[in-house]
């Protein structure tokens, strides 16, 4: 891209405190895919200040899951050069209480959650906040959708922390889960459930799990860490929705976060259930119609490749920050390699 902006990109927290550190690499690769490697510098919260004192950039992009403690020094350093700062918050509203103050420190704020956006904008008082959902990374998450049902090793799969709302929800579905070949993987699940495997798994196993399970659950999270100021109920699904779709998973999700329908067409790319009986009926229906299920999984994957990759999100972000700049459409061909770190589950 000619006259591409120079971006300095880093994650606000050290990896030791960040359970979603893989996202940093996905965003970096998306930036590189759009702007070229020479235009993008990735640092850490420790090295950011040195980079910014040394070099001149057109944008400082911070991936944050909470208030960035080093931001004031960063701002003091770049404000002399009038370099804008954009922050992409990826854990709203779970730790949102402190994040409202971010708006005073940055030029652009992107939040992963649509409902939280209204709280940043405060009825039109702020105009520099935007919604930017999480996404998937082709190199890290793509697996082909199989041609036939023999590829699968189990019927139902969920991987994630057993937050209370998730435990309650699966608790209502126990009868169906027990009757099928189910695997629920992650910490904090009741150990007496026979299909539970406690602990965390690596990134590759996770993607394999999505790809080799006939039905993948997408379960919303209601567990909050710092969300007392407005007690916001989130609406936008997290990154697992997009990752599982890209991994070729057919997804079934409860209807309580219907914003999911804005990313995937319900009944054509994804399915929702409203009750245990409805869940049981849909499990029966989709396990009994592998072609239909595979068709939907393929459609969801194609939609993800078309609209829900990190390159799409970064493109949207750059178009907001640099409205006059012709940000190119993402190249549909996947990047050659991916610095794919071991990803922790959240």
């Amino acid at each position: 891209m000619s006259d591409a902006p120079r971006i300095f990109f880093y994650c606000s927290l050290p990896d030791s405190l960040n359970t979603n550190r893989g996202i940093r690499f996905h965003v970096y690769e998306a930036l590189v895919a759009l702007l070229g490697e020479e235009e993008v510098t990735m640092g850490t919260c420790f090295s950011a200040l040195d980079h910014l004192r040394r070099d001149r950039f057109d944008l400082v992009l911070i991936l944050a899951n909470a208030l960035d403690p080093g931001l004031h020094r960063i701002r003091a350093t770049v404000s002399r050069r009038k370099t804008p700062i954009a922050v992409w918050v990826h854990d709203d509203p779970y730790e949102i209480d402190d994040n409202f103050d971010l708006l005073d420190h940055v030029d652009f704020l992107f939040t992963n959650d649509r409902t939280s956006l209204a709280y940043y904008r405060r009825g039109g008082e702020r105009t520099n906040a935007f919604h930017l959902p999480m996404a998937a990374c082709h190199a890290a998450h793509f697996r082909p959708v199989p041609e036939d049902d023999a590829h699968y090793v189990r019927d139902l799969f969920f991987c994630g922390v057993g937050f209370e709302n998730r435990r309650r929800l699966l608790g209502e579905l126990l009868e169906t889960l027990r009757a099928r070949a189910t695997a629920v993987v992650g910490p904090e699940w009741p150990e007496e459930w026979p299909f539970v495997t406690s602990g965390r798994i690596g990134h590759r196993e996770l993607i394999e799990g999505y790809n080799r399970s006939r039905i993948v659950f997408h379960l919303p999270r209601a567990h909050m860490l710092a969300n007392t100021r407005y007690r916001i109920v989130p609406s936008t699904p997290g990154p697992r929705l997009f990752e599982a779709a890209l991994a070729g998973g057919f997804q079934l999700t409860p209807d309580e976060r219907p914003e999911v329908g804005e990313y995937y067409r319900v009944g054509e790319e994804i399915e929702v259930f409203r009750s245990p009986a409805d869940f049981d009926a849909k499990v029966k229906r989709y396990l009994g119609s592998p072609d239909h299920r595979l068709r939907m999984a393929r459609a969801a994957q194609e939609r993800t490749l078309r609209e829900h990759l990190y390159v799409h999100r970064v493109r949207d972000l750059l178009r907001v920050v640099f409205p006059g700049l012709g940000v190119p459409e993402p190249d549909p061909s996947p990047p050659a390699a991916c610095a794919d770190p071991a990803m922790a589950l959240s």
Partner: protein, 833 residues
């Protein structure tokens, strides 16, 4: 000129605060973006002062804070409230309505019961940006046949039973979450129906995806009384905006005013009718969808918050009588009405505490010095109590003290503490504080600074040391070395704080981020030296105009005699004025003394306290070349210093000001000081003192030898000391008065006051107000009028000693008793070498 409105949602932490966003958005569409400001209780006063609104509109009406309203009242022309929980909160609301010039209520039946001259009915509405959904293209896109979302109020039970039964043959989705405000649902609903809370956007989507949405009325009030309202709630308007076909519970003639029944929505009266209509409308999708579209158009046209905002503005934008205003309990007379402004000093201890230091003495001296001009208050913690859970407010003019016992111990370095914040808010309002001067924030949550600013009080923060830069407030790292933080990478701080406090990585960065916010709220930051100013400005973005370089320290010492000169052959008397702590260079001083032990013509007089370890190191020299005083009274300092020539300052940390150095200059002593911080700045090497490298005892010894052996140098430096300006008490007081007056003037100017005193007769505060009781709780003690002893009494010392005995053992008790007896009964003997 457009009306300027300040919009305040009254209940902090309420999940319904989104209503204020919707209304703010609607008001902006009507008045323009610049004419509307949204605020919250904790920053309402500050926002009102900065924004200068014509009217304040309180939204919700729950948990109204009377004192806050009293603060806001002089800042606006019109006080309005929009009660949004009528008729269920009507009884409470009717009591508060008289505080306002204009009252809006969401319920028409309730409006008739307000005895207020300006009551308007203003129903809730829908927010197109949140709720509008395009109509679905065909029947296949619906997820549910029937949908209901709402709390399980008892009057809804019968209908919920019908809907549950209907689930057997229809896709009926119920979301009836458990709530602390509603009694448990008698339906025993499964978790997927009772354990879900929806985002407003998602609720709108579920309305859109449902063929029929049920709207049920609520009659249940929190006090258990049945109060059926006449006006539909917000969900009806939101559902209509979402494109839902609404089947509403009848018996509400007012429904017809909002939607045409039979054309835009339909109603049912009985469960049988509900069932019948559900079936009929499911069989007649075209009719149903036509009605839904008509209702959506109507809602967009008439029931958006923009439409509501137009009505609200029309009601406010006309002459308003304030005759109905009632006086507010708990609001005392404002300063400026014949009363001196009140200045609150916040400090960690008071000076009578056994652990008090220079900051506490300075604060008390200042508060006393200013007491003739201001009503001065001191708010401090009992620092001798290990749990730091007792705080005092001492009124220097009225000689009264209020005590506050907290339920939880204080955790050092806490940013925000709900309990202590609440007490502080209460003090600001009840004591009518006009200006807050934070002398030290140790033992206090940092958020107190923000609270003072949020309540529109001018804030001065004195940076007595580096506590607001690092919790190691003398900036000595885990090795005991000065860390020079201005250029230090975060990782170094992480290593140090991990080693010294066991803190995780990122702690320092996070603390600085929060403290940046705190310091940004202060109007004036007082630093004690230019070195301190430079360091804080390197760490935080502090503009020059906010910085006030002003040394602290009451210097009420007799001026030195300019004629005094040391005779040849007389020993050089070196005084050590401060305490003998490690960060004060105790080790360097001991090594200097030991090194010079066998030199003739040099004596050391250690005036400050010395720990037992240090004592053993110089024991053989006692009475020969070293004399110990074990602390001294400030009043005795002039007499003590009369026969001293030199003062040794060996701090290894960058002292911010050093009161002892000010005293040395005032007493005409030549300082030999380590070249760091304020010592390095205030002592000019070869001009009015001599420098040595921090921690370098050999260099310090050489400088002392030089002064002994070079009478010309001695004389020159002595003249330099005499020529060094010393700060006099009157100057310090005058400087503070000037700063305070400027700030008070600035804040008064920006606060737009009503021209006539209107019909408000303020009443004096008597004890904790309802607000305070409600917010702070009954666990707070009532004000305790007790006199504060100016100096430690025998009784307090006995108590302190007993505490020490329990914590420090018999040796500590003996030492304390010995010191007490010596200082109290043999002061002269103790002071003379």
């Amino acid at each position: 000129m457009a009306l300027k409105l300040l919009l305040l949602y009254t209940r902090e932490g309420s999940p319904n605060q989104y209503l204020s966003f919707y209304m703010a958005s609607g008001l902006r569409a009507v008045l323009g973006a610049e004419s509307v400001r949204l605020t919250e209780p904790r920053c309402a006063v500050a926002d009102a002062v900065r924004f200068g609104p014509d009217a304040l509109v309180c939204l919700g009406g729950e948990e109204l804070q009377f004192e806050l309203l009293a603060e806001l009242r002089p800042l606006v022309e019109t006080m309005a409230v929009w009660y949004t929980e009528d008729p269920w909160e009507e009884v409470t609301n009717r009591r508060t309505a008289s505080w306002f010039d204009v009252v809006f209520t969401n319920d028409r039946s309730a409006a008739a019961r307000y005895h207020h001259p300006a009551v308007h009915h203003l129903p809730l509405g829908g927010d197109p940006e949140t709720h509008f959904r395009p109509p679905l293209a065909d029947e296949e896109q619906y997820w549910f046949d029937v949908f209901f979302a709402g709390l399980p109020w008892p009057n809804r039970s019968a209908t919920l039973r019908v809907l549950k039964a209907l689930q057997a043959r229809r896709a009926v989705r119920l979301i009836v979450p458990e709530s602390p405000y509603a009694p448990p649902s008698p339906q025993d609903l499964p978790l997927h129906e009772s354990g879900i809370w929806l985002a407003n956007r998602d609720l709108a989507t579920l309305y859109q995806r449902s063929r029929i949405t049920i709207d049920l009325r609520r009659t249940y009030s929190g006090d258990g009384t049945e109060r059926p309202g006449s006006t539909p709630g917000n969900r009806l308007f939101e559902a209509a905006l979402s494109g839902a076909f609404v089947l509403a519970e009848g018996g509400r003639p007012e429904l017809e005013e909002y939607f045409q029944v039979g054309e835009e929505i339909d109603t049912f009266e009985t469960p049988a009718e509900l069932e019948g209509k559900i079936e009929w409308y499911l069989r007649n999708p075209d009719r149903r969808r036509r009605m839904a579209k008509a209702a959506q158009r109507r809602a967009l046209r008439e029931h958006s918050y923009e439409a509501r905002a137009r009505r609200l503005v029309a009601a406010l934008d006309r002459p308003i009588s304030r005759a109905a205003r009632a006086p507010m309990p708990g609001a005392g007379p404002r300063p400026g009405a014949g009363q001196d402004p009140t200045v609150l000093f916040v400090v960690h201890n008071n000076s009578s505490s056994p652990v008090a230091g220079g900051t506490e003495f300075h604060t008390e001296w200042l508060a006393e010095g200013l007491a003739g001009r201001y009503r001065t208050l001191m708010y401090y913690c009992d620092g001798t109590n290990p749990s730091l859970d007792v705080y005092y407010l001492h009124d220097l003019r009225r000689k009264t003290t209020r005590a506050f016992r907290m339920r939880r111990p204080f955790e050092m370095g806490t940013y925000g503490d709900r309990e202590r914040n609440a007490v502080f808010e209460r003090l600001l309002l009840e004591e009518q504080v006009d200006l807050v001067h934070f002398q030290h924030l140790l033992y206090h949550p940092f958020s107190l600074v923000e609270i003072a600013a949020y309540y529109g009080r001018p804030v001065v923060v004195t940076l007595q040391d580096f506590y607001l830069a690092c919790q190691r407030f003398n900036l000595l790292d885990y090795r005991g070395h000065y860390c020079e933080p201005a250029t230090l990478p975060w990782s170094s701080c992480d290593v140090c704080l991990s080693a010294t406090h066991g803190l995780p990585a990122g702690s320092q960065a996070r603390r600085r981020m929060l403290l940046e916010r705190v310091l940004a709220r202060a109007d004036i930051l007082q630093v004690l030296s230019e070195h301190e100013r430079d360091l804080f400005q390197a760490l935080y973005p502090i503009p020059d105009e906010k910085i006030w370089v002003q040394m602290v320290g009451p210097v009420e010492l007799a001026p030195p005699s300019r004629r005094y000169e040391r005779s040849l052959g007389e020993p050089l008397r070196v005084g050590v004025l401060g305490n003998f702590a490690p960060h004060k260079g105790g080790d360097t001083i001991l090594r200097t003394i030991s090194h010079l032990a066998h030199e003739s013509g040099i004596e050391f007089h250690v005036l400050g306290r010395l720990d037992p370890g240090g004592l053993s190191a110089i024991k053989p020299l006692l009475g020969r070349t070293v004399w110990l005083y074990h602390g001294y009274r400030r009043a005795d300092l002039t007499r003590l210093a009369r026969r001293l020539d030199v003062a040794l300052f060996a701090s290894i940390w960058p002292e911010t000001g050093c009161i002892a150095l000010t005293e040395a200059f005032a007493l005409g002593l030549i300082p030999v000081a380590s070249r760091v911080g304020a010592l390095g700045e205030r002592v000019r090497d070869g001009m009015n003192g001599l420098h040595f490298a921090p921690g370098n005892a050999g260099e310090a010894a050489d400088k002392i030898r030089l002064l002994r052996d070079d009478p010309a140098l001695f004389r020159r430096l002595k003249e330099g000391v005499y020529a060094t300006p010393t700060l006099q008490a009157g100057e310090v007081i005058d400087c503070h008065v000037k700063i305070y007056e400027d700030l008070l003037m600035r804040y008064r100017r920006s606060a737009r006051r009503l021209s006539p005193p209107v019909a408000v007769k303020e009443t004096a505060s008597a004890g904790p107000s309802r607000f305070a009781q409600a917010r702070v709780g009954s666990w707070l003690s009532r004000p305790l009028p007790v006199s504060v002893p100016p100096r430690p009494s025998l009784r307090s010392l006995t108590q302190a000693s007993w505490k020490t005995l329990k914590t420090g053992g018999p040796a500590a008790l003996f030492r304390r008793g010995h010191l007490f007896v010596r200082k109290r009964f043999f002061p002269a003997k103790a002071l003379e070498p």
